[in-house]
Symmetry: C2
Subunit: 211 residues, 2 copies
């Protein structure tokens, strides 16, 4: 049986949501962050790198959001929620699926690290933070072109992109009030029954109605 090891308020919320969208059975094991905000030692020892998400499935232990999503869709999802090479929007799907953790999350990780380090506003290295602004601007542009990241239909690109747009902003705040396309998109996502089920199971104490 597929087990999702969910660290509260972390990227593993994507995997719970994916399974709810696909209607897949899974065991959910919840872990709480330490008061300092990190994952508990029990979570860090689950896989070789120690970060969320992690799943186990028989003898398999697997980390990385992108890897887990690809695995679950191939193994249990009948290739639903992904876009294949035969479709005209294959590259839109690929781009945003990889952009989430390949560009947007790294930019926001630098934001978070700079906030914790209290890097002064006039430090020349603040130029690195321009990437987060560009990432949100790119998202706003895309969501003006199409209702979902890959195009007309909801896909796993939305599931992986949603975290930096919402939960990650609790760690690395970013004002989205000017981004009307993004805000309308987030309001559409909140209406999804699978999203609501996932949030209720994964982080029941969290105010997840992010706007």
């Amino acid at each position: 049986m597929l087990t999702i090891h969910h660290l509260g308020i972390s990227q593993s919320d994507r995997i719970v949501w994916l399974c709810e969208e696909l209607g897949i059975d899974y065991d959910l094991k919840l872990y709480k962050r330490s008061p300092a905000g990190g994952g508990p030692a029990e979570y860090k020892s689950l896989n070789i790198f120690g970060t969320a998400p992690v799943i186990t499935d028989g003898s398999l232990t697997l980390g990385e959001s992108g890897a887990i999503i690809d695995y679950i869709i191939a193994r249990y999802g009948g290739d639903r929620l992904k876009i294949g090479p035969e479709a005209s929007n294959f590259t839109d799907y690929l781009y945003w699926f990889h952009f989430a953790n390949g560009s947007m999350m790294p930019a926001m990780m630098v934001d978070l690290a700079f906030v914790v380090a209290q890097v002064p506003a006039d430090n020349p290295a603040q130029r690195f933070r321009e990437r987060t602004r560009k990432a949100f601007a790119a998202v706003e542009t895309r969501l003006g072109e199409a209702p979902y990241f890959a195009g007309d239909d909801f896909t796993a690109a939305d599931i992986i992109m949603h975290f930096p747009l919402t939960t990650m902003r609790m760690f690395a705040p970013h004002d989205i009030s000017a981004y009307s396309n993004l805000r309308a998109y987030l309001a559409r996502i909140v209406q999804r029954p699978a999203y609501q089920r996932a949030r209720a199971k994964a982080d029941p104490d969290l105010d997840w109605n992010v706007d």
Copy 2:
């Protein structure tokens, strides 16, 4: 015709290497970094986020290493250099393919940003940099289990993982002298004719014999 827009000393070196490994024809357009180290305006305007790599192919413009690799392998590579769901090492391939830009590069981006920001060694935020040490340790462990990241055979997981292990260390130095498995791996990679061709075409002035 597929065009690789290669920004010198950047993640687009992967795409040149991929095409050499696959024996695919491509046009190579070279761009030099500004004296300050950034990409030129002409490169930044190629796609929505402005970073390397970028390819164009007819009316398509595509960024993100993972997306470009998946696209080229599907469109031109006959699914070579990837591992499919039917193989026993499918999840090893997926994990390392996503780990490169989903975990290792973000950790090294924080390293680079902290070096530029001159964050003091006793700053509590230095804990973020522990992730890079853990990433290299995970790599060393993996390369003690198997000759290549996905297992017995060279795959695109090696092409995407190689950048943080080599070129990225020019920006965010990391001592690998104690990692004998990693050093032996890098020595094997340097012997590959396709790797040598890619380096000679992409960054002919660079000392790419990284050890």
